[in-house]
């Protein structure tokens, strides 16, 4: 019963790249792992503010956050 309560507390709903997702991750680093994004070259913005790579282990994601995860791509 208590365990379920803890899980309830830690699962949050985020909008990731435009899609609503329920996740257990609490940081951008954990989010990449949970979404199985295995590349190295990402930039991440939470609620339109860039979170520097150096802070991916520290920045705490909150319920309702909107997260953009982007990579380099072809462009003109």
């Amino acid at each position: 019963m208590q365990k379920a309560a803890v899980q309830e507390k830690t699962a949050i709903t985020l909008t990731v790249n435009g899609e609503r997702k329920s996740v257990r991750a609490t940081t951008p680093r954990e989010l990449l792992a949970e979404l199985e994004l295995k590349g190295e070259f990402f930039a991440i913005a939470v609620n339109r503010h860039v979170v520097a790579k150096a802070r991916w282990n520290e920045h705490v994601l909150a319920n309702g956050d909107s997260v953009e995860i982007v990579t380099p791509r072809q462009g003109g």
Binding site: N17, G18, L32, L35, E36, L37, K38, G39, E40, F41, F42, A43, A45, R48, V50, A52, K53, E68, I69, V70, T71, P72, R73, Q74, G75, G76
Partner: protein, 264 residues
């Protein structure tokens, strides 16, 4: 030498990395073009999360300067946020700013572009704004602090060349201290030569090479055209005349009476 925000380049071509038949062809075309600057974009990562890595490793092998764009942004807010993500991703202050105002023509929203330019310059970016042939807008961008301004030749991907020639000549004359780059609409190497003959500092193109029958060969053709166009500008071209003027000397033409000799 081409100078952009204090950095010098020997090539006057900025080339896009999109729409090639394959990444291998893209890489070969960029090498052949001699371009030292390539444009790239930022996009959401897909499931699996390695598409970005594959592309980025190929770009890094080229050992070129990267100019990220804000392509696809229709608002100041989106363009500014995208620029900030690009700065983080590519570790550069350079940004090719596109704030698009119309889906059909991909015409820049020049009001939004100026607004976003001011925000980004204040945030430490070195902005390469994509704009129209409008002289007032170009002047405002330069006044805001842009050392580079990039008016279109014609609509993005149209391949029509320089359709706003008179206005763009005027812009060149009015903004002597700004690096001016024709961005968008070029289709043939002769269009690129023309831009440099007009005194433009460089051209930015993508589809003209990527969408050609042989991108690697076309990349070479553009490099040669740019070299010719720049040399012509530096040499100083003759002034056009309304009527003919014989190039062969008239004096001594056989069978003529020197008293009433006429040119032919």
């Amino acid at each position: 030498m081409l100078e952009l925000y204090g950095q010098r380049f020997s090539s006057r071509l900025l080339i896009g990395t999109a729409r090639y038949p394959s990444l291998t062809v893209m890489q070969e075309a960029v090498k052949t073009s001699g371009a030292e600057i390539v444009t790239v974009s930022v996009r959401r990562e897909n499931a699996g999360g390695k598409d970005g890595d594959t592309f980025w490793n190929i770009i890094r092998e080229l050992n070129v300067k990267v100019l990220p764009n804000t392509a696809g942004c229709y608002s100041v807010e989106d363009a500014v946020s995208t620029a900030q993500l690009a700065r983080e991703l590519f570790n550069t202050k350079w940004i090719k700013l596109e704030v698009i105002g119309d889906k059909a023509t991909l015409q820049p929203d020049v009001v939004g572009t100026l607004e976003a330019t001011k925000i980004l310059l204040a945030d430490g970016f070195e902005v390469f704004p994509y704009c129209t042939e409008d002289l007032t807008v170009a002047k405002r961008l330069a006044d805001a602090g842009c050392k580079v301004v990039m008016p279109w030749g014609s609509q993005i991907g149209s391949g029509k060349g320089i359709v706003h020639e008179e206005a763009l000549k005027r812009m060149r004359a009015e903004l002597p201290g700004v690096a001016l780059i024709i961005d968008a609409g070029l289709g043939a190497p002769s269009h690129a030569a023309k831009a440099l003959e007009m005194g433009y500092d460089a051209v930015l193109l993508n589809t003209a090479v990527a969408g050609s029958g042989n991108p690697v060969k076309m990349a070479k053709a553009f490099a040669q055209a740019l070299e010719a166009g720049r040399a012509a500008f530096e040499a100083g071209m003759m002034k056009p005349r309304e009527i003919a003027q014989a190039s062969t000397p008239i004096a001594g033409t056989p069978f003529t009476n020197p008293a009433n000799a006429r040119s032919s």
